[in-house]
């Protein structure tokens, strides 16, 4: 008779020294793991709840600027620096991690309408519409060497915005038209205009060096090739587009922030309708910025909120608001796509996390693994009603919540009316128009 008894050697189960990690026995046999789907679901639910527990995106306020802020401009190469422009003509230079003001300049006598950095040199430009000047300031060792500008240019139009080319020594000023200036020449190198209304903002495409996009006051979006005399296309929208931003990773994608509370992303190859309509704000969207990854957007709105979006998804991923934050006029991503700087009408710049529940600071490998697991679990059970309701829910102050309900009611009423009309008149007379096709009046060539 052969007898074998199960006997374990304790040495196989104990760690060798106190510096070792504990040994963990593993047996993947499914008989030892009943209810694994339920356990996973509970873990996904806990992951969703913990994400909400740790969602504290507000990092701090940069200190009172003293007057309403009009522009924010991030440094193109340094992570920790940014500029802000004020309506009383002051330009401030901020250290983002310390949230302290390094320097303040009395740049202009009126509202600072444009701010941009030179991509390579330690130089930034500012322009103002009241004194009609464009000034260049040199910065070295995070201090302005002279409190006077390096150069100053008087313009014969009132500039409304300013953008610098990603590599060439060109910059685009928007005023009554789009003017292309070379830094070495006094006269504009190019000028584009369509219609009689002023151009609010013009921006260079970071990849296609000859391409410019501009938004005008008469609700139009212009596409300009600097090698041509006339703009390429004009898209007539229903409402005014307040700001625009090119996708840094996808050369043909741009996003605009509109007065009709939406953001639109456009494919420059097919401008007949926007590629995506981002709905969520309850008042005009004032500014839009793409993350450096090209996958996310941030929008600043007149309804005192900042919303974050995933590119291509029309519902916002997150919404930031504070009791003290009033109308938000500018929002910018930091270069590492982890932080957002907003400028609002309550005279403050604020710093936020792009991922509200992200832990700032080094993650140990176990922490990273736990974070990744939690993320994967939430995605796996994202459709599940209990998990979805926790992941989607965001607290809104009462008036914002009421505004949201109002928008919902208005939309519902419009839809119902359309359905009734279609039933009454017939589908041929009242065809179904998809959301994307409702916002463009026409495209002109």
């Amino acid at each position: 008779m052969k007898v074998k008894l199960l006997l374990r050697n304790p040495q196989d189960y104990l760690r060798e020294t106190a510096d070792d990690i504990h040994k963990l026995a593993r047996n993947p046999a499914p008989e030892l793991h009943p209810m694994s789907a339920e356990t996973e679901y509970v873990r996904a639910l806990n992951a969703a709840k913990l994400e909400r527990v740790f969602a504290k995106p507000f990092l701090g306020c940069f200190g009172d600027q003293g007057d309403q802020l009009s522009r924010v401009c991030m440094h193109p190469r340094a992570l920790s620096l940014c500029l802000s422009g004020c309506v009383d003509g002051r330009v401030a230079f901020w250290n983002i991690p310390r949230r302290s003001r390094v320097l303040q300049l009395d740049a202009h006598s009126g509202c600072v309408q444009g701010l941009c950095w030179h991509p390579e040199q330690d130089l930034f430009y500012s322009c103002c519409d009241t004194d009609r000047t464009l000034k260049a300031w040199r910065v070295g060792d995070d201090l302005v060497e002279f409190s006077r500008p390096v150069s100053q240019r008087h313009l014969d139009f009132a500039p409304l915005n300013l953008d610098h080319h990603v590599s060439k020594d060109l910059f685009a000023l928007s005023g009554d038209a789009v003017y292309l200036y070379d830094s070495r020449r006094s006269d504009p190198v190019g000028q584009w205009k369509w219609g009689s209304d002023s151009v609010l903002q013009a921006r260079f495409n970071p990849t296609e060096w000859h391409l410019l996009a501009a938004v005008t006051k008469d609700n139009a979006l212009l596409l300009i090739d600097t090698r041509q005399r006339e703009p390429l296309r004009r898209i007539r929208c229903e409402f005014r587009q307040n700001a625009l931003c090119w996708n840094p990773q996808e050369p043909f994608v741009l996003a605009t922030a509109s007065d009709d509370y939406n953001l639109y992303s456009w494919d420059a190859r097919r401008l007949a309708s926007p590629a995506c309509v981002y709905r969520g704000h309850t008042n005009a969207a004032m500014d839009v910025d793409f993350a450096p990854t090209g996958r996310e957007l941030v929008s600043a709105s007149y309804d005192c909120t900042v919303r974050l979006w995933e590119s291509g998804r029309s519902q916002s991923r997150d919404v930031y608001h504070t009791k003290r934050m009033y109308r938000v006029f500018a929002a910018r991503y930091s270069l590492d796509a982890r932080f957002i700087v907003t400028a609002s009408a309550d005279f403050n710049l604020r710093l936020w996390k792009a991922r509200a529940s992200e832990k700032l600071g080094a993650l140990t490998p176990r922490e990273r693994a736990a974070v990744n697991t939690a993320e994967a679990l939430k995605q796996k059970y994202a459709h599940h009603p209990q998990v979805r309701r926790i992941v989607q829910h965001r607290h809104l102050p009462k008036r914002l919540y009421q505004a949201q309900l109002e928008m919902k009611a208005i939309r519902g009423k419009q839809r119902r009316k359309e359905v009734n009309r279609r039933e009454h008149r017939g589908e041929d007379k009242e065809p179904f128009v998809p959301e994307r096709d409702r916002h463009v009046r026409g495209v002109d060539e």
Binding site: M1, V3, K4, H22, L24, P28, A29, P30, M35, A37
Partner: protein, 524 residues
């Protein structure tokens, strides 16, 4: 998830389901292969020559290493028939006697944790909590008490009145109890909340077992029924007739889908709890529906590897049967009449309580050799503590306790919800306001303040008329979508699809073989 044998694949509703089941089976086989490849230990067993008798304990002890000796011991105690319970790690053994003796000790080192005389008959016990802070729940004659590792009484659960069996659900942190009064209780030990406490109205529940994989309580009734209970339903969720006579004992394996029932006809039957059908057992090499256990007392215990232990000769000896077999693996005489049996998890050891104390015997091949995680006898204190915290975080809600036969589960499609929604839609469509209702005019009143009243009633009826009109419109629309010819007759517009279907001469969509077939309008 269901284990589907190859021959069951033709019973799948569709090719999609067959493929999914085949994939699941393949993944399960691969996991088993991985598990066996990575295995540290191999299971025990006895290889005997044909004609050889089942070995005695002395024979086994001569053939195994000295390290196995702690598994074989006898305790002569005086306080009545004893019940025994191992904790989930297999490190601790507790006993309680009808004479009031309650004790707990680490059986390997024979280190006594506590021993006390509670001066009350104790009927059942179970370890609760995780291995780091072990607590013992003991069912006294009236109420249930919870003792800690030092024997201090922590809680007195008055709601668990006259419990005769206690169960611990580790994944849900629930203490379940069946009582002589016919009540069932589920108590959350981590929050102290009573999840469910009700009378089953099926008589005193004296024969019960826990199905650990799903957390359901199985009870055997004197009329031969086996009932499956969950905390959310006050009635048995499933009832099957498993014995021609009354059910004398029920037992489940610590993992898996087998349920063993011992009937009044002394026959042992094995059931598959997933499909509620009998599994065949081998009786002397031949497949049989049941095994005849002569003079068996009604206690059964099943080990992790499917070995079954039962008392024979009216409790004078215990017998261990191999998984699904009738020829005993080994037997052992008991000094007193056997009252309880418990296999040690993760070890080849069986503890038995009898009228004169308790004992422990070696049973080669009963324990699962390779545990997963920190729940095994050799896990350290720190690992047990961490496992406890993880167990609390992963605590499952009581809604997940459901018998596998009933289906559902967190990843199941909510077919009933979809069906209900469709049924509601159809009902809304079919419940048309009758003509009389539509043409009704409210009675005009006269007298003081009647003008205001008439106006209000008129407005209310106007609104109701609009609602009825909407209802009629939506009914027409839905009928048109469903391709019903009645839509045309009722004057509703036909959608393009409906027109196509009616033009092709087909009134109904082809049957898909799913529950949606019930809603296809029948061609009259």
């Amino acid at each position: 998830t269901m284990d589907v044998a190859a021959e069951d694949s033709d019973q799948m509703p569709s090719g999609f389901h067959a493929k999914a089941a085949a994939k699941a089976a393949r993944l399960r086989r691969e996991a088993a292969k991985l598990a066996s490849a990575a295995a540290l230990e191999s299971p025990g067993g006895i290889e005997s020559r044909p004609g050889e008798w089942a070995p005695t304990q002395s024979k086994l002890l001569r053939r195994v290493a000295v390290a196995a000796r702690p598994g074989h011991f006898e305790l002569s105690l005086q306080y009545g028939p004893y019940s025994v319970a191992y904790d989930t790690t297999g490190r601790l053994l507790a006993l309680c006697g009808r004479g009031g003796h309650v004790a707990a000790f680490e059986w390997r080192q024979k280190r006594l944790m506590f021993e006390s005389q509670v001066n009350e008959p104790c009927h059942a016990l179970t370890w609760v909590g995780a291995g780091s802070t072990p607590q013992l729940a003991v069912a006294h004659s009236n109420w249930t008490y919870i003792y800690d590792a030092q024997g201090l009484e922590l809680h007195c659960l008055k709601r668990l009145h006259k419990a005769n069996k206690l169960f611990w659900l580790p994944r849900h942190w629930l203490l379940a109890a069946c009582t002589d009064t016919g009540h069932l209780h589920w108590q959350d030990v981590s929050t102290g909340q009573t999840v469910a406490s009700y009378c089953g109205h099926h008589g005193p529940l004296r024969v019960s077992a826990l199905h650990p994989d799903s957390g359901c309580v199985l009870t055997g009734q004197p009329n031969g029924q086996l009932c499956i209970w969950t905390p959310l339903e006050k009635r048995p969720v499933v009832k099957i007739l498993c014995c021609p006579a009354g059910v004398r004992a029920v037992a489940t394996a610590p993992a898996g889908h087998a349920v063993y029932t011992l009937g009044g006809d002394s026959r042992l039957r094995v059931w598959d709890i997933r499909c509620l059908r009998p599994l065949s057992v081998s009786d002397n090499g031949a497949d049989a529906a049941s095994i005849r256990l002569f003079d068996a007392a009604p206690q059964l215990a099943v080990s992790q590897r499917g070995l079954l232990a039962c008392p024979v000769r009216q409790g004078a000896a215990l017998m261990v049967l191999p998984a699904g077999g009738a020829k005993p693996l080994l037997s052992h005489p008991s000094p007193g009449r056997l009252s309880d049996l418990a296999f040690c998890p993760w070890e080849d050891v069986l503890a038995f309580g009898h009228a004169r104390g308790l004992g422990s015997v070696l049973v080669p091949g009963s324990g699962e050799p390779n545990p997963d995680g920190a729940v095994h006898p050799l896990s350290g204190k720190r690992q047990r503590r961490e496992a406890e915290v993880r167990g609390l975080l992963d605590k499952l809600p009581p809604e997940t306790i459901a018998p596998p036969a009933v289906g559902g589960g967190v990843n199941a499609v909510d077919a009933e919800g979809i069906e209900e929604a469709l049924a509601r839609k159809r009902a809304a469509v079919m419940a048309l306001p009758s003509d009389e209702v539509r043409q009704f005019q409210p009675r005009r009143r006269s007298g003081k303040a009647s003008g205001e009243l008439n106006r209000k009633v008129g407005e209310r009826w106007q609104r109701r008329r609009m609602e009825l009109r909407q209802l009629l419109k939506s009914k027409k629309r839905v009928l048109a979508e469903m391709g019903d010819e009645g839509a045309d007759a009722a004057g509703g517009r036909k959608t393009k699809k409906a027109k196509k279907i009616s033009q092709s001469g087909e009134l109904t969509k082809p049957a898909t073989g799913t529950f949606l077939d019930r809603l296809i309008p029948k061609a009259d």
